[in-house]
Symmetry: C2
Subunit: 300 residues, 2 copies
């Protein structure tokens, strides 16, 4: 899921997407650009070899077309290709993604001369797990700091950053579900109270980040969440807990929404939970059985 | 989903499966044999051309290896290949399946000389919609009756049935979900009462067949159901209604179980319902998006 520091010049974004889509076996799933942030995210998938190759190609194009000495936007950034998390889909593990992050980092440094910081599950140092900690100071601050403070130097390459492309922050993380629940109420204090009660950092539900927000145009309030490990705290558990906390306050859930994509396993877990199915497996689904059978046939 | 009149000699069943699996593009998903019934069901999927070809091949092998003048079992049967329903999977309609049923029927009669009755959505006459009505009298009765009573004659070929392979009953129907809910109670009357309340034939939920059964070894009772149109009455609606009727009687649901396979859309409908997602689409699922993107790429 590469994040690029360009969200205004859509010709540049198209060139980045073309670099990815041009790699055999790399499939672009989603693309979004924001002009205020001056940033684009292109979600793509494929085999390990394909995603590493596509990431290196995209880093090369970004390095050629994005000049951080000129780039401005409200979103902090350290590199032309700013952040590059690898995320396991069905059949892959977080460990696989850490290995891919390392391979991509080595090639980006060796072939393109762009230094690399590793973060999240791929971090080499505990103070580099959080993206915010790695990127603090951004391009302008870190290109100075890295030269004089070893603790700020890249994990690979450096200490001098690339003069226009900065550095790439490469990581591995589980898939994240962006999930909002809208409450039939205009009482913002209640949404904030529920968000506080469920967020992991306050001792609530593990792997849940939550904020209370107003939805003024709709006369509703929202509990806006990121589920950073849906297998640890499934989406149906989050819904149930927010429903319970809202009901205690006499408030009903109006609706909920998933922003972007979610893994199929989240549906399967919710289905098994709600129907009280003790032995439900993905292979009970006709289409899954069919896909598995077709893979076996094409392998054999 | 062909049903064959052989469930004891597994060499015959293996030959039937091999005939299907040998057709390019036909994928065997599931196979089950019952010795008491002396019957086997082989579920397979593929493009329209592939499933028609595989059905004709399987009918030929069944005709060569199964002799109804010798075959005995507790399950009624009219043909060596007894029943052949075509069922639409994602991307196909019931109308597509009616057309496939007709093509398969014409080939089975023309190429193999086995007469054909059409049933369910492929029926040509209202009194042949229900399988039970078509098969009444079985092989022994119908081979006589068809000769003297025009209303009993096959829709295609005949009136003389094939001397050893009988006739094939070919149809089209929506996918069926076999679904059981176990109640935390030993009161069989309650399970029967709930089954009566929900079954379509009593004015309950459309497209639901239901029976109340004892599960003596587990000291539970069961509402055992067939959902014949899960888009009309979704599985989550059935669960909710049984839960409500049981709760009125002070009884909780212990668990539920899906027998065999169910379509992915049933999961997606339940997920959107329970999370109150007004705009959930299958393409919100990463794997679905990926499959769609891969199909586009392989087509282009």
């Amino acid at each position: 899921v590469p994040n690029f520091s360009e969200g205004r010049d859509l010709k540049v974004v198209a060139a980045l997407e073309a670099a990815i889509a041009g790699v055999a076996g790399a499939i672009v799933l989603h693309r979004t650009s924001d002009a205020d942030h001056n940033r684009s995210v292109i979600t793509f998938a494929g085999s390990g070899d394909a995603v590493v190759e596509a990431a290196v190609q995209a880093a090369a194009v970004a390095s050629g077309l994005i000049d951080l000495t000129q780039q401005r936007g409200v979103h902090p950034r350290l590199g032309a290709l700013d952040v590059l998390p690898f995320v396991p889909l069905e059949g892959a593990t977080l460990e696989d993604c850490i290995a891919l992050a390392r391979r991509a980092g080595e090639r980006i440094w060796q072939e393109l001369g762009i230094p690399v910081y590793y973060y999240q599950a791929a971090a080499l140092r505990p103070d580099r797990v959080r993206l915010e900690d790695v990127r603090r100071g951004q391009f302008e601050g870190l290109r100075e700091a890295a030269l004089i403070d070893e603790s700020k130097a890249p994990d690979l390459g450096g200490p001098r950053l690339h003069p226009t492309a900065g550095a790439v922050i490469i990581g591995a993380r589980k898939i994240l579900i962006a999930y909002n629940i809208n409450l039939r109420s205009t009482n913002l204090a209640v949404a904030k109270e529920i968000a506080r009660a469920i967020r992991a950092s306050n001792g609530g539900l593990p792997a849940v980040k939550a904020l209370g927000l107003p939805l003024e145009s709709r006369a509703l309030v929202q509990v806006s969440m990121n589920l950073t490990d849906f297998e640890q705290t499934p989406i149906h558990v989050v819904f149930g807990e927010v429903e319970r906390l809202a009901a205690e306050r006499g408030i009903a859930i109006e609706e909920s929404e998933i922003i972007g994509l979610l893994p199929r396993k989240a549906l399967e877990m919710a289905f098994a939970h709600w129907l009280k199915l003790p032995v439900f497996e993905a292979a009970n689904v006709i289409e899954t059985r069919l896909e598995q059978a077709m893979e076996l046939k094409s392998v054999s």
